[in-house]
Amino acid sequence: MDRFTLSALNEARRQRQAAILVTNLASGVVRLFREDDAGLELMIEPALAALLPERFRSARSGLVQTPEGDEFFLTVHVPPPRLVVIGAVHISQALAPMARIAGFDVTIIDPRTAFATPERFAGSNLLAEWPEDVLARAPLDAFTAVAALTHDPKIDDLPLRAALEANCFYVGALGSRKTHAKRLERLSAEGTEPEALARIRAPIGLAIGAQSPAEIAVSVLAEVIDALRKRGVAGEGADP
């Protein structure tokens, strides 16, 4: 591998971009492909190009053989997924530790200091601030999930719009169908396109009949993982 490729790979990792290093084990030739490279399928052998989307989704490195008999190693680098929870509510108290165990870097944001107390969120990255202030210094990206759980438009609406604009792999919002219908009206009036609005998962969580806040947290986390592992699959809407 040459130092420039190594440097480009490290830069992609710093920028939280998914990248795959393709090493020809016979020749030693190394090439780097980023998930958001335009015309990726034109830059690489068709047999390899066909494999890359699944590798980006699964984040699994491994050997592949082309029909010509060449052996390649794919080193897959996908940024660690983040979960941003809007609302230091009861569901969040259960969701934060579960998501951490599942490998997510979790941040909880709630400007209401009565909710956002360290006692209720021991061990969590909790920010008692307005979402716009937090997002201004830590922008969302495609490897971040956003779950808006406050029911309060003043707190939830802005990060939901930001999540859709940043192409977050998961955008979910708590609330009944009626609450969500009103939310869609508000976001639409503020200029969010219908295709983007359709990406909001509401009612939030997989339909497992969840009752308690902890059960709802399980259903939300399962839905987040589902979205992560099916990123970019037709119908899942993660493509820009």
Binding site: M1, L6, S61
Partner: protein, 113 residues
């Protein structure tokens, strides 16, 4: 922070370190686990970075075959030609170097030029 996170960060640092070492003018090789069978201790994609003097960081086998990989890597830094190494219970060398846990691994060693 869980164990998985620690492992991921460990791997992340190895590639950053490889870049730092190259920039500092050191001869550097990168070893990568490309295939595993059975109870191999480190997953596919794990890295070890080695310099010309045999200094190293990271892990390709949790300590079992690092010594052999480092020796090969120092030679790869000298010749510039990549090598594909295989360690396993069927291999006498593997017994000697200690991968007797029933696992087999293939490790690709390349110079960073």
């Amino acid at each position: 922070m869980g164990t998985e996170d620690s492992l991921r960060l460990e791997d992340a640092d190895v590639l950053g370190l490889a870049e730092d070492w190259v920039q500092a003018g050191r001869g550097v090789a990168l070893a990568t686990v490309v295939e595993t069978w059975g109870s191999a201790p480190r997953p596919v994609g794990s890295h070890l970075v080695i310099d010309a003097d045999g200094h190293f960081e990271g892990s390709v086998s949790g300590g079992c075959v690092e010594g052999a990989v480092i020796a090969e890597a120092v030679e790869v830094i000298g010749t510039g030609t990549p090598r594909l190494l295989e360690f396993g219970v069927a291999d006498e060398t593997a017994w000697r170097v200690g991968l007797s846990c029933g696992g087999r691994i293939r490790v690709y060693v390349e110079k960073v030029v």
